[in-house]
């Protein structure tokens, strides 16, 4: 049903190109693809890898080990991942690096080196790449040792390139490995290269020359096992990262101003928006002004300013940046300003693991900011949801006149996925109650819980202040006015509870009164659904409760689902499994079974299944997942 593989090599050596080219070629051939990118906080040289699932039956939702192919650019990849592969897997490696030992890899972190050294000793295997390859061959792995330098030198000679120029095509050897081992059409790959290097035909030519030079040798070494024909039945697909999907969603929503300060893993969203700045459809501008500000405080502040003039305005950031936005968030909540903050979680605390994933900012997002004010926190479980929710976020923000935090994570942000073209025409745009204003307009008219909004610049005159205000927006410290204004603001939470359908706030998958209920949000969705499916296939009654609005939480519905299930397990990429705390807080039910993962790596299907089975067998408490390099 699926093929799993890892492509690895030093950061900055073209791995992303290999990933994109393979994903697009596979998409063209009709396969479903999901690819996670793991990398250090480093520009060049540290170990980086792509973990990909290719499916001929559906769009993949999760990743798993062992993989069926390991395509290694360098010695570090072989040594780091040699235990991640299946017994009959394909291994592509550089024959010229066979002699490289652990000691000779400066980019590898010491603790991993120590661990590997110990493990190899345990296995009785030497520390050189060659030793490990021999060991793997012994286990049944089909290894192709290709002399990368030779391949590149050949191409260089053929095309009149300098060796240094040819080395830029190293990553094409990995593409060749895949093409060769699985009998992929070279045409599809060439087209993918062409799309990647639009207008730079010589790059396409050289990359393809490398593919054509390496492929026969690899085929010879490992043989060809053709991938089954795809049965997904899609005629066209989007191939995009989570960052891309959100940017697309924002443009669909009508975003017209985005301010940002660069930060991993959010910045790529803004770069894409910048690329589309000047776009039009049918002669009408559909882009957004994108401003790189001096810091995140300025980003959110300017977004608030833009929103006051009627622009659909947003920013995108991750933990450190969001921390700096907290003061202004409180201003926006107080002043009932519709702004959207796209918040990509990464490994904390502090700088933490800045290029790794996590879901550890839930309670912070829900409680950030001094004083009490309404906000909405929503989250998305995959690319399709993310795109759709990017539109929803603005609708909620404008309907309820408040800040909306769209809580995502690095797993989603940086993973590439194939998915159907969204039916954006069916989405709705809700701007809430907007008026012209005019003489005597009162921005905070107390006769409405949500006072009709006029835009600055639309003709009416209005005031805003961070101080408690009267209906006109002027400072007012009167205790009676205070209570009325405070109540007015807080009453929105009730309106949201009533006004937004429960089935938009959560999705329930599986058996109605299941023996096992998984509860999660965001990137837990994929592995959780796959595990539920496997459990059901194994005869268990199982379900997954997927939360999309985390604040205000649809507490009553959650309470009901949780209380009707047998074993309930909360799953999260964090230490505390905060969603269970949030449910205790709002719904008054305590979920004691928790699956936590906080290595910064995604939850894999297999490890989640194993953990859940332990709970099914009666274990209660916390399970910590740790798989992955």
């Amino acid at each position: 049903m699926e093929l799993r593989l890892v492509l690895g090599g030093p950061q900055g050596a073209g791995l992303e190109t290999s990933m994109t080219v393979l994903a697009r070629a596979l998409a063209r051939l009709g396969y479903g693809v999901l690819a996670d990118r793991e990398y250090f906080s480093n520009i060049k040289g540290r170990h980086s890898y792509v973990h990909m699932t290719v499916s001929w039956e559906r769009i993949p939702r999760s990743l798993d080990y062992p993989v069926h192919a390991l395509l290694a650019m360098d010695a570090e990849t072989v040594l780091t991942h040699f235990e991640d592969i299946a017994d009959d897997a394909v291994l592509l490696y550089d024959a010229g690096a066979e002699g490289v030992t652990l000691t000779q890899i400066p980019s590898m972190e010491d603790c991993l080196k120590r661990r590997l050294r110990e493990r190899l000793r345990e296995l009785g295997v030497g520390e050189a790449v060659g030793d490990v390859v021999r060991y793997l061959r012994g286990r049944g792995v089909r290894a192709a040792g290709i002399d990368y330098r030779e391949v590149l030198a050949g191409v260089a000679r053929e095309h009149g390139l300098l060796p240094s120029q040819a080395s830029r095509y190293l990553s094409a050897i990995l593409v060749a490995g895949f093409v060769a081992a699985y009998g992929i059409s070279e045409e599809a790959v060439e087209e993918a290269f062409r799309e990647r290097f639009r207008g730079r035909e010589e790059l396409v030519k050289h990359n393809m020359a490398v593919v054509r030079a390496a492929a026969p040798k690899i085929r010879e070494a490992v043989g060809v096992r053709e991938l089954p024909e795809p049965r997904l039945g899609l005629e066209e697909v989007v191939v995009a990262s989570g960052n891309d999907a959100v940017a697309m969603g924002k443009l669909v929503a009508g975003l017209s101003y985005q301010a940002y300060y660069p930060i991993t893993p959010a910045a790529d969203e803004s770069l894409l928006l910048e690329r589309y700045e000047d776009s039009a459809v049918d002669g009408e501008w559909v882009g957004a002004v994108v401003l790189q500000t001096e810091d995140e405080i300025s980003a959110i502040s300017s977004v608030i300013g833009a929103a006051l003039t009627g622009a659909r305005a947003a920013t995108a950031t991750s933990g450190p940046g969001f921390s700096l936005m907290v003061e202004a968030l409180s201003w926006a909540g107080h002043n009932e300003v519709p702004v959207v903050i796209t918040y990509y979680q990464r490994g904390g605390p502090s700088t933490g693991l800045p290029t790794r994933g996590s879901q550890s900012d839930l309670m912070f997002a829900v409680h950030a900011g001094h004083g009490e004010f309404p906000r909405i926190v929503i989250s998305s479980g995959d690319h399709e949801e993310a795109l759709e929710d990017a539109v929803w976020a603005f609708n909620l923000a404008e309907r309820y006149q408040l800040p909306v935090i769209h809580l995502l994570d690095k797993f989603l942000a940086n993973s590439l996925k194939t998915f159907p073209i969204p039916d954006t025409g069916a989405l709705s745009i809700d701007r809430g109650e907007v008026v012209e204003g005019g003489e005597g307009y009162k921005r905070f008219d107390l006769s409405h819980t949500i006072s009709p909004r006029a835009f600055i610049g639309g003709g009416a005159v209005m005031w805003y202040t961070g101080d408690e205000h009267d209906e006109a927006g002027h400072i007012c410290e009167d205790p009676v006015n205070r209570v009325r204004m405070y109540d007015k603001r807080m009453a929105k939470l009730g309106l949201i509870e009533e006004g937004v359908p429960t089935n938009r706030k959560l999705t329930y998958y599986g058996d109605p009164s299941p023996d096992v209920l998984l509860v999660g949000w965001g990137s837990v969705k994929g592995p959780a659904l796959d595990v539920v499916e496997e459990l059901m296939a194994g005869g268990f009654s199982a379900a997954y409760l997927h939360l999309r609005m985390l604040h205000p939480l649809p507490a009553e519905a959650v309470r009901q689902y949780v209380s009707e299930a047998g074993v309930v397990v909360a799953v999260e990429h964090s230490y505390e499994v905060q969603v269970a705390d949030l449910i205790a807080l709002r719904a008054g039910v305590r979920i004691v079974n928790r699956v936590a993962k906080y290595t910064g790596r995604p939850i894999y299907r297999g490890e989640l299944l194993r953990a859940v089975l332990r709970f099914v067998k009666g274990y209660t408490g916390k399970e910590v997942l740790t798989y992955g390099a």
Binding site: G254, V286, S298, G310
Partner: protein, 312 residues
Amino acid sequence: MARDPMAYRTPVWQDWCPGCGNYGIVAAVYRAFAELGLDPGRTVIVSGIGCSGKLPHFVAVNGVHTLHGRAIAFATGIKVANPELTVIVHGGDGDLLGIGMAHFVALGRRNLDITVVLHNNRVYGLTKGQASPTLPRGGMSKGMEKPNIQDPVDPVAVALASGYTFVARSYAFNGLHLKEVLKRAIQHRGAALVEVLQPCATYDKVHTPAYYRERVRDVEKEGWDPIVHSPEEAFEKRLKAVSTALATEDRIPIGVFYQDTHTPTLEDRIAARIGAYQATPPAKKRVDEGGRPLISKERFRELFRDFIIKTR
């Protein structure tokens, strides 16, 4: 075009201390706005937090009283989203030169068409008189326990180093001069700084009206020409403007020190990137068509074609 200054006054009680320089400033604002005939619905005053920060509530144009130090950042979003608006920032010396310094400098780098009016009273007024970034070392306000151990920073010098294309100083109780400088600053296209020497009647017993009255000198009257006549002249002019603006114990220059109309504004720069910007800035962009996105599925396919793959 000109209007009645008092039409710009709101009925909100002005709760500054008796004798406060802010009264002079707000009066000059009324008159400058009136003489420029600013449309209240198309004008925005954005302020920070402090005694100075209350000013927008007293002026009958749009008012956005923001966070301490962040007025410029809020104003940036307002102006970029709707460049038709006249946007004026009022902030304290603590606000703009301390906590808000990063934004103050960034505005210069952008040359966005905003006028920044800096109420320089040398103290943190609203928190009861601590030293602000313009209080001289050794100075001591009535709110301080000990003399100041930090050196002052000169906003004119920083603005000139940051790229402001209009830089001036005036004095709160020289109403005519202040009004004229405000008018020129607002009319200037680009980032404008007007430092206003503002006596704090309650906390600062040194920089009183008497102190300033004796010392202020209008350099333009003395012959200084602030205009940058050609782009090549800009660097030298900036340096000269810094020396011209230098305040000493017995002479405090006021006037416009620098005005450069050759540097494109941020709006110009954005317009060069985005064809539709001038006609349809973000505030006016159409978002939906009968409650549906402009980007239908068909248009999505077209717009994001780079991301879409037809399968074989």
